[in-house]
Symmetry: C2
């Protein structure tokens, strides 16, 4: 009998699924549309059905599953396995872990999406063997995962760590979060593209002007393409991005003390055009009190980091005794998944009540 | 027999000593001059002699000591108990923990000074019962201690967390660390005083001008005194301090997620004149994505926080099994303390060698 670990990586557009053996060898993977408008019961049902199909194609069944990991965007209560709010998933107080557990009859863990990516890169990717690492995701926003002493760091109330909203330029550019001057408002892929567009619109001389005239838009990819072609404005814009990211790294170093900082996400495809200026600005801005030898590098797992990370977290939780192996339990009808999960959750909360601290 | 825990708080000018029982009730305390020019052996000898005197005055002896904690400034290897470098103590690779352990014949722990203050406030002061707290010390510089999940957080290589060197104003004021725009360069007691002096020197209208003319200096205390008296420049200067500290708190919130932020140090005496503007600026600058209910308050233990913190860390280490009770061992002559401690350390390092990971 093969021991299967399932990784589920939720996103607003797609859901990625992966089945792995206990050594994290990929058995099969697939991507399905999220269709968030159908609600969480439908999402869990389609995840479950697809996992069943994937396993049966490999001559396996859900009985072979040891545990699953599921990563989701949003604010969540990780201990309880509940997503409290996730706008792009249309989740509100969804007991996601218990629902999938009820569907599969197997135990699992819930974790936020940036953390699962970080954990994936930590176990198999650019952060392998590094117990002090930070992963910074560069996309529409800037996300992050932090590993300290080999463990994921969570914010208060188990929230994810929000390094994208570190303020670098007080009273600076408006960020979507309502703050001004966040690093995300300067250095995310979207902010980099937005600054280029603003500059071109306001008459700056650049080869990007033609792109804007022809397509009505400038993307972050365009910016780095024109950096490579020697365009000065594109270089200026990308330098501002690199400087903001370098300052973010300086600030993170003083609080977290990472050994390696890994960049992840679409913008990361710019490769050395992104990394080299970050290193340059970091070295220019870091203190002289002692030599800091933090490494900067690109993520290596690409879009699979999330499913690898979630499956790896499931293996980890089993090893650490945080979840226990269980035989198939009787399945709960789809329509009742959410209700049943909530009831189970309430019961657990009630059971936990007497253990209030007596100091 | 009473169980005694000893707390030692090293500073460049004074060394504070405290003897406590197992419930952290103070048995006796005293302050002795550091006289760093006499070297670490002399420091350990005078610490040991004074502890002996304090105990004998209470009808106790070193035999009654269970364990000690010692807090020091500087860069250190906490596991090894060695201060690698501490300029104001003139320490360089001093195996401080082992030296005091050899003198007293008792086990102990070493921790950095900001962390022991933080731990003191955590166990008995403004952070009591709060497992997610940050202590920010405002003095010549800005130091900090972070407690997460009820545990002290250390930087990479066990360094202290250096929130004072978070860059808030890129390319801004020069900091003593070699960076530009650190929060320390704006909001420490020294920086607040320095900004006031600069403004007065450059001709700003202020009641502080008279202070400068009479004393040739303006202190941070002067600034807050004149804020209380309604001076506009002093208010402006103190607002800039509060804004920098508020931005620091915003940034720390996104990375660490504290429930309470405690301010410590001389400048803290300004009380609500310091705290209220910090809260105001924090609320103005924090995001709107979700309500943050972090509390801001002043430390309550004053200068005793360090000895309480170190003694409490000793109790904690004993409870956690990190150190073990031991009967008196034969004392080592003072002159050989450092050499003996180094030899013991080398032996331990050697013994630890075979356990390299085989993964």
């Amino acid at each position: 009998m093969r021991e299967v670990f399932v990784g589920v990586d939720l996103g607003g557009t797609n859901i990625k699924l992966g089945c792995f053996d206990g050594e994290l060898n990929l058995l099969s993977k697939r991507t399905i549309p999220s269709r968030v408008e159908l609600g969480p019961e439908s999402i869990i049902e389609r995840i479950g059905q697809n996992i069943e199909k994937m396993l049966s194609e490999s001559g396996l069944s859900t009985k072979d599953i040891c545990a699953f990991g599921i990563g989701s965007p949003g604010v969540m209560d990780i201990e309880a396995g509940v997503v409290i709010a996730a706008g792009n998933m249309r989740f509100e107080n969804v007991p996601l872990r218990q629902m999938l557990s009820d569907y599969l009859g197997k135990p699992g863990v819930l974790e936020n999406d940036a953390n699962v990516t970080c954990w994936g890169e930590h176990v198999l990717g650019a952060g392998k063997g590094v117990d002090e690492m930070i992963l910074i995701t560069l996309g529409t926003g800037i996300g992050s995962g932090i590993i300290k002493n080999g463990k994921l760091v969570h914010g208060f109330n188990n929230n994810g760590v929000e390094v994208g909203h570190i303020i670098l330029y007080p009273d600076g550019r408006m960020c979507s979060c309502g703050q001004r001057g966040c690093v995300e408002a300067y250095a995310s892929a979207s902010a980099t593209a937005a600054r280029a567009k603003e500059a071109v619109k306001s008459g700056a001389i650049s080869s990007l002007k033609k792109v804007f005239e022809e397509t009505g838009d400038i993307t972050c990819k365009d910016v780095y393409k024109h950096v490579a072609q020697g365009d000065e404005l594109a270089k200026e814009i990308s330098d501002e991005t690199a400087k903001a990211l370098a300052l973010l790294c300086v600030n993170l170093l003083h609080v977290i003390g990472p050994k390696r900082i890994v960049f992840y996400g679409g913008m990361n495809k710019a490769g050395q055009l992104l990394l080299e200026p970050i290193k340059k600005f970091f070295n220019e801005h870091i203190w002289r009190l002692k030599k800091e030898d933090v490494e900067f590098c690109s993520a290596t797992l690409g879009a699979d980091a999330g499913i690898i990370g979630t499956a790896a977290l499931a293996i980890h939780a089993l090893k650490e005794g945080k979840i226990k192996r269980q035989r198939d339990v009787s399945r709960i009808p789809i329509a009742e998944l959410k209700k049943a999960a909530r009831a189970a959750l309430e019961e657990r909360t009630k059971a936990a009540q007497p253990s209030t601290e007596t100091d």
